[in-house]
Amino acid sequence: MRSQRSLANGPAGFLLLALLFATGCKKEAFIYEVDTVDLAQFDGSKDREKTNQEYAAILHANLFQTALSANDLYKIDQCIQSIGDKQLAREVIISNFMNKPGVIIPSDSSMHANVDGFIIDTYNRFLVRQPTEAEKTWFRNSIAADPNVTAELIYFSFALSEEYLFY
């Protein structure tokens, strides 16, 4: 009895206990098939305002998919500076671009054929990011509800948005 007690209290007993703890009941890790979500801001933390020339260069590239010359950018910059209401100035410049040949805008029929694809493409083109589900839903509803909402008007609103002024 004495030797048995000493065995249980000795190093072998300690090892046995440690082994039991190590290999005993383990909490099972459940995976519910939810992807890891990045909690960063969906607008990409755009906090720097574009200069007039940057704005014009990117706008022209987005609408015509060609670049403007430095001289043209300089002149557009002057035009924006010469008008006190900058939003008004941008509206007029966008309106001028929209009136020129060569603007590349999806047709309304192709937009209606694949509304989700159009929304995603537009967000990518102008805001360089994916739309959230809420944003997709809002635009989907707007396009469905208002026959006046065309691809051109949607492009116009993106080009006029505050987010488009930042990078």
Binding site: Q41, D43, K46, K86, N99
Partner: protein, 443 residues
């Protein structure tokens, strides 16, 4: 509650509803309390640096150069005989043909002349800021928007004036001029700012290329959806940077301004802008478009900037010509208001003040007539005149004189505020230069 009490309280509540303050679009609770002296003010920044000697003192070449020829070259603004010889400020080869006066009666006769006022800055941007802020702008940066509220913001905030009724017409987009339409002050700022055009750019070759061919969208069917979608996008965007500039034009005001721009491009192309009879300088061209702005919008306040006289850094001859043209511009403005804009005729006050003077002593540069040029940095640069005329302004009155300065250039802010009925609010804001007061209080 008995019947009598019920009727009494209901009546009191109804009376309270009727008497409740009317909240203006500007956010103010009550309409401006002060009585207006006029419905419109045109403020000419007679800028670029004008020496007293060649303007109100009428010394022509007698003070600045070795030639003993004196006389008045501001035909529309001041009384006085013109120089009898060495005429260089007019038109034609050598400028020998003076531009005839437009006004039958000088502004000096029609209004009040402050013969010598004190400028608070010897620099252009500081001077312009002092005229628009009513403050010395001692800490004002050169490429920085005004630190204290401008007269535009005072009027819009305290007078409930819409954006399209306050206009700043600049002669350039250089020298930080476009920055002057509103301040960075936290209690005022962009939302109370003025509309601005630099017409020589807006309606010049660059504007013609990029602004003149705007597609016209239907206000309800097309623009409204655009604005709605923009509003949604803006709400989704967490703006971490500087808030984009918006001076608060309503959609209707924007439409009106776009229509005005379209009209200006057409008129520019057709050569029918209301330019002065002689239109051979940037200042004169600017004033032509200012006349068009006034005719279209009938603003409560129109500020026009000129600066051609600053050529005096290197050409005294050019300086004299530019000053003569600035006078021509002022005469044309006033004549246009009286004869072409019935809504403003007899109901407008015009004010003209330089932002600073120029030095007493010349620099080393001589022009084509071998005349010395002048910079602006000494005490003579702080001597300017001031002039106003129009509704409720005493006529044929002359105040102060050489060695007897009356008034500070900062006075113009409370003066305009008094004319348009918000003087007490502007004075009460506590942001004016100490000692500043309405010019009407200087009489």
């Amino acid at each position: 509650m008995d019947r009598r009490k019920f009727i009494k309280r209901t009546g009191a509540a109804a009376a309270g509803l009727f008497a409740a303050p009317y909240i203006l679009p500007s956010g103010r609770l009550f309409a401006a309390s002060g009585a207006q002296l006029a419905q419109h003010v045109v403020f000419v920044l007679f800028a670029g640096g004008v020496r007293q000697q060649e303007s109100v003192l009428q010394r022509y070449l007698g003070d600045a150069q070795a030639d003993d020829v004196e006389g008045n070259i501001l035909y529309n603004m001041l009384d006085g005989a013109p120089p009898s010889e060495k005429i260089v400020y007019g038109t034609g080869l050598g400028g020998i043909n003076p531009i005839q006066s437009i006004l039958g009666q000088t502004l000096q006769q029609q209004g009040t002349l402050f013969r010598e006022m004190r400028a608070v800055s010897a620099g252009h941007f500081g001077g312009l800021n002092s005229l628009l802020q009513g403050n010395t702008a001692a800490t004002q940066g050169l490429q920085q928007k005004p630190l204290n509220p401008t007269i535009f913001e005072y009027l819009r905030r305290h007078g409930g004036i819409p954006a399209s009724k306050t206009w700043f017409i600049g002669n350039t987009i250089g020298n930080s001029v476009p920055l002057l339409n509103y301040s960075l002050h936290p209690n005022y700022g962009a939302q109370y700012g003025a509309n601005f055009f630099a017409p020589n750019v807006t309606f010049g070759p660059a504007g013609d290329q990029y602004l003149s061919d705007a597609k016209v969208y239907h206000p309800q069917d097309q623009l409204m959806p655009i604005y709605e979608m923009k509003a949604f996008l803006d709400n989704s965007f967490e703006n971490l940077g500087t808030a984009p500039t918006s001076i608060g034009n309503t959609p209707e005001e924007k439409q009106d301004i776009k229509a005005f721009m379209a009209e200006m491009f057409t008129k520019t192309q057709n050569g029918t802008i209301a330019h002065p009879p002689v239109n051979d300088s940037g200042d004169l061209s600017t004033v032509g478009y200012a006349c068009e702005v006034m005719k279209w919008f009938k603003p409560a306040l129109t500020v026009v900037n000129m600066s051609g006289v600053d050529g005096c850094h290197s050409s005294f001859t050019g300086y004299l010509a530019a000053m003569h043209r600035a006078d021509h511009a002022v005469g044309h403005l006033w004549d246009h208001i009286q004869n072409q804009i019935p809504e403003m005729a007899g109901n407008t006050v015009i004010i003209a003040i330089p932002e600073c003077g120029r030095n007493a002593q010349p620099n080393a540069i001589r022009d084509q007539n071998d005349w010395y040029s002048f910079d602006h940095s000494d005490s003579n640069s702080l001597r300017v005149f001031g002039m106003m005329a129009g509704a409720n302004v005493p006529s044929n009155l002359s105040i102060g004189g050489e060695g007897n300065q009356v008034g500070i250039v900062t006075d113009v802010v409370p003066t305009i505020a008094e004319i348009l009925g918000v003087k007490s609010e502007v004075m009460g804001a506590g942001l004016l230069e100490p000692g500043t007061q309405s010019l009407f209080d200087r009489f």
